[in-house]
C-alpha cells in the first residue's frame, strides 16, 4: 500500500488526541483509511441517548474527494436510507478539500438534530414525517431505543 498521506495522519492524530464531543473515530489496524465511528444522538432530538455505529472510508483521492460514510446502526430518519447511506450536501457536491473528517461527522450529527424531509433519501420515512411529524418522531425514538442501545 502506498504511504499514507500526511493529511490523513494528522487528521487521525487529532481525532484521537482531541476528539469531538459525543463522537469517536478510530482507524482500523488493517487499513488506516477505514474508520470505525460511534456517534451519540444529539440531545433533545428523537435520537437522544442512542449510540450509533458508522463506518467511514477515505478514498484514494481524499481530500479532493469526500470520505464515504454510512450508518451501520438501523435508524429512522428521512435523509438516511435502509442501507445507512446518508444524503448530505457536503458528502457530495458541496464537498471541499478544506473540510475534514471531524467537520463531516459534526455535519452528520447536526443532520440528526434537524431532519430535512423535503430533500429525502428514504421516501417512505420522509412521507411519514411530513404527514404526521409527532408520530414519526415517536417511531424514531422507538428505533433508537431498540437498535441504538448503549453497549454494556
Amino acid at each position: 500500500m502506498a504511504a499514507l498521506p500526511k493529511r490523513i495522519i494528522k487528521e487521525t492524530e487529532r481525532l484521537i488526541s482531541d476528539p469531538v464531543p459525543g463522537i469517536t473515530a478510530y482507524p482500523d489496524e488493517a487499513n488506516l483509511r477505514a474508520f470505525t465511528v460511534t456517534m451519540n444522538g444529539p440531545d433533545s432530538s428523537p435520537y437522544e441517548k442512542g449510540i450509533f455505529d458508522l463506518e467511514l472510508y477515505l478514498p484514494d483521492d481524499y481530500p479532493m474527494c469526500p470520505p464515504k460514510v454510512r450508518f451501520l446502526t438501523k435508524i429512522y430518519h428521512p435523509n438516511i436510507d435502509k442501507l445507512g447511506r446518508i444524503c448530505l450536501d457536503v458528502l457530495k457536491d458541496n464537498w471541499s478539500p478544506a473540510l475534514q473528517i471531524r467537520t463531516i461527522l459534526l455535519s452528520i450529527q447536526a443532520l440528526l438534530a434537524s431532519p430535512n424531509p423535503d430533500d429525502p433519501l428514504a421516501n417512505d420515512v420522509a412521507d411519514d414525517w411530513k404527514k404526521d411529524e409527532p408520530k414519526a418522531i415517536e417511531v424514531a425514538k422507538e428505533w433508537t431505543a431498540k437498535y441504538a442501545k448503549a453497549k454494556e
Partner: protein
C-alpha cells in the same frame, strides 16, 4: 475525375459554415449504371425542412462563449473586463441578455453569485517555507495560490482540486467552503499549464498577436463548460458519433416546424417534438395533427443526414452513422434485433445441429456419434443424420453418406429455421461490410503514409514535379470505399425488412453491382498493401492510378444509384417494408 463524384467533400474544413443539407445522391441526371429508374421530378430536399450548422468544439467555444463576451464588452458593458464577463456568462448559462439584465437590475447579487470581488488580488507566490492546510505537507520551496480572499493553499493541492472540479463544467470557486470567490478562466489554465508536460513554442507566441480567442485557446474550463452546455441541449446540438471526433452539428432552423407553428416558440417545440418531426420514417413531417399513416410511402430523401467538419456523415435524427438507404425506423428495429438476437443466433448456428426428427437444436459436446435426442428419444448418427439402427454394428464408421438425402435433410432444417437463416444471411453481410470497412481504413492509412514519405523523398531529390493534387485520387478512393461499404452494409438491413415484391430484384441487382465495384476497389487497395509488394507499393499506386480513379467513380455512382433506387422504389411503393419479420 468528375465533379459529381465527390460526396459532400466540398465543405470548407476550416470554418464553421452554414450549410444546407446536401444529399449525396443529388445528381440524377447522370448516366446511372444499371438503374432503369427515372429520377422523380418532385424530389423533396431536406434543406427545405431543416438547416444545420457544423462546429468543431473549438469554434463553438470561440463563437458562443468568447465572442459573446467580446460582444458584450464592445457593445453593452464596456466598463467590464473580459474575464469578469466570461464568469458572468458562465454563471448565467451563456445567456447574454440575462447578463445585461442582471447587471443593471441586480448588480450586487450578480457580483456575489459570480464570486467577483470589487478589488482583485489573485496571486501565485513562490514561498521558501510553507505548510499547506490541505495536504498538511511542509514545503521548503513551493508555489502557492490565493484569490483575493487570501485563502492560500499550495499549488499541488490547487491543481488536484481544479482537476476534480473540471468534470462538472461549472465555475470553480475558492477551496475554502465559506468563500464564494471564483477562479477566473485564464488563471485555471495558468495553473494547469504549470503542470503541463508539453512546452509551447515561445516563438509562436511571439509572432502571434494575442487576441481574445488565442488567449483562451486550449482553455480546459471552457471546454468542459462547452461539453456540459451542449449535452444539456440535446435536441439542438448533436455530437458527431464517429469515434474520437469532437465536432458537433447544430439544428439551426427546423422549417418543418415553422410551416405549422408560425407563432409558437421554436425552442419549446424542439425539446419535445423535434425527434418525431425530423423523422421522415414516421411521415408526419408536415402533418403532425394527423397520426402517421402506415400506408403513406416513405421518403428517405428526408432523412436528416448531416456531415460534421471532418466529413463524417451521420443521421441527425438517430445520431448514428449515415444509414441510407434505410429509413430511421428500420434502423432502430434492426439495431434492436441485432442486440437481442445476433449473439445467440450466431452461437446456435455455429455449435448445434437439429434433431432430424423433432428439429430441436442439439449441441454435441463429446461422446460418440450415436446420438439420442433428449426430447423425442430418436436415435440417429451425428455424421449422416439418419436413423442409428441402419448402421448395424459399425459404431465408428458411417458409410451411409448420401449426398441427395443429406441435402433433403438440410432443406428440411432450413425450412424450419428459415427466419433465423434469413436473418443470419443479412446480418452476416451487414457485419462483413462493417469489419471490412475497418480493414480498408487501416490499409488506406498505410498507403497514405507511404505516399507521403514517397512524396517528400521525391521533392527532396527534385525527382518529380508531382503535387499533392496529383495524389488526391487516393484520398477520394478512401472516401468512396468507406462510403460505399457503409451504404452496402445498410442495404442488407434494408434487404432484411424488404417485402418480396418484383421491384426487389432491381434493388438487389443494383446492390450486387455496388458490391462488385466495392470489392474490385478493395482488391486493388489490398494488393498495393500486400507485404510481398512492399518495395514497389508507390510504383503500384501510380500504375493503378487510372483503375483507382475509375473504380472510385464507379463506387460513388453505384452508391448513389442504390440509394436512389431505394428512394424512388419506396416513394412509388414498388418497395415496401415488413416490420413484422
Amino acid at each position: 475525375m468528375s465533379e459529381e463524384g465527390s460526396i459532400d467533400y466540398d465543405f470548407d474544413e476550416d470554418e464553421a459554415s452554414d450549410f444546407s443539407f446536401e444529399s449525396d445522391y443529388d445528381d440524377q441526371n447522370d448516366n446511372m449504371i444499371d438503374t432503369p429508374i427515372e429520377s422523380p421530378k418532385d424530389k423533396t430536399d431536406i434543406s427545405k425542412l431543416a438547416k444545420f450548422k457544423k462546429w468543431t468544439t473549438k469554434e463553438f467555444i470561440n463563437e458562443n462563449f468568447i465572442n459573446a463576451a467580446v460582444k458584450l464588452q464592445n457593445l453593452q458593458l464596456p466598463q467590464c473586463n473580459l474575464e469578469d464577463l466570461l464568469i458572468m456568462l458562465h454563471q448565467l448559462k451563456w445567456q447574454s441578455e440575462e447578463v445585461i439584465n442582471n447587471y443593471y437590475d441586480n448588480y450586487d447579487k450578480l457580483m456575489n453569485d459570480c464570486g467577483i470581488p470589487k478589488v482583485k488580488n489573485n496571486v501565485i507566490k513562490e514561498k521558501l517555507e510553507y505548510s499547506c492546510p490541505i495536504c498538511c505537507e511542509e514545503y521548503d520551496n513551493i508555489k502557492t495560490f490565493q484569490l483575493s480572499c487570501g485563502h492560500e493553499y499550495c499549488i499541488n493541492c490547487y491543481h488536484s482540486y481544479l482537476k476534480t472540479q473540471l468534470t462538472n463544467g461549472q465555475l470553480i470557486r475558492c477551496i475554502d467552503t465559506s468563500c464564494n470567490l471564483t477562479i477566473p478562466h485564464l488563471l485555471t489554465q495558468e495553473i494547469f499549464d504549470l503542470f503541463s508536460q508539453d512546452v509551447r513554442d515561445p516563438a509562436q507566441d511571439f509572432f502571434e498577436v494575442p487576441t481574445a480567442n488565442s488567449k483562451y485557446a486550449h482553455n480546459m474550463l471552457l471546454s468542459s463548460a462547452a461539453r456540459s452546455y451542449i449535452n444539456s441541449k440535446k435536441s439542438k446540438y448533436k455530437w458527431c458519433p464517429a469515434p474520437d471526433c469532437e465536432n458537433l452539428v447544430e439544428l439551426v432552423d427546423n422549417y418543418a416546424l415553422h410551416l405549422d407553428n408560425d407563432d409558437d416558440d421554436f425552442d419549446e417545440y424542439l425539446s419535445d417534438e423535434e425527434s418525431t418531426l425530423l423523422d421522415p420514417s414516421t411521415n408526419n413531417v408536415k402533418d403532425k395533427s394527423k397520426s402517421p399513416s402506415v400506408d403513406r410511402p416513405i421518403d428517405i430523401s428526408l432523412t436528416p443526414i448531416v456531415s460534421c467538419g471532418t466529413d463524417h456523415q451521420f443521421c441527425y435524427n438517430c445520431q448514428y452513422e449515415n444509414h441510407l438507404p434505410c429509413p430511421c425506423n428500420i434502423v432502430r428495429s434492426w439495431i434492436k434485433k441485432c442486440k437481442d438476437d445476433s449473439e445467440t443466433a450466431n452461437w446456435i448456428e455455429a455449435n448445434t445441429h437439429n434433431c432430424p426428427k423433432c428439429l430441436n437444436s442439439i449441441e454435441k459436446n463429446g461422446g460418440c456419434n450415436h446420438m439420442t435426442c433428449r426430447t423425442c428419444n430418436y436415435e440417429f448418427c451425428w455424421i449422416c443424420f439418419k436413423e442409428w439402427s441402419i448402421h448395424g454394428s459399425q459404431f465408428f464408421k458411417c458409410n451411409n453418406f448420401d449426398k441427395s438425402e443429406k441435402d433433403a435433410i438440410e432443406l428440411n432444417q432450413k425450412q424450419k429455421r428459415v427466419s433465423l437463416q434469413r436473418y443470419l444471411h443479412y446480418y452476416k453481410r451487414f457485419a462483413v461490410h462493417e469489419s471490412s470497412m475497418k480493414g480498408d481504413m487501416k490499409a488506406l492509412d498505410k498507403i497514405n503514409q507511404r505516399m507521403e514519405s514517397f512524396m517528400s523523398e521525391q521533392s527532396k531529390q527534385n525527382l518529380s514535379n508531382l503535387s499533392w493534387t496529383d495524389v488526391q485520387f487516393l484520398k477520394d478512393a478512401f472516401k468512396a470505399l468507406t462510403n460505399g461499404r457503409k451504404t452496402l452494409k445498410w442495404s442488407y438491413c434494408f434487404g432484411f425488412y424488404m417485402k418480396e415484391l418484383i421491384f426487389a430484384e432491381v434493388f438487389e441487382q443494383t446492390q450486387e453491382h455496388l458490391n462488385r465495384v466495392v470489392e474490385d476497389l478493395s482488391k486493388i487497395v489490398e494488393e498495393i498493401n500486400d507485404k510481398k509488394n512492399n518495395d514497389r507499393s508507390t510504383e503500384l499506386i501510380m500504375k493503378n492510378k487510372k483503375a483507382l480513379i475509375s473504380l472510385t467513380n464507379a463506387v460513388t455512382k453505384g452508391q448513389q444509384s442504390l440509394i436512389q433506387c431505394a428512394e424512388s422504389g419506396l416513394k412509388e411503393e414498388r418497395l415496401k417494408f415488413d416490420l413484422s419479420i
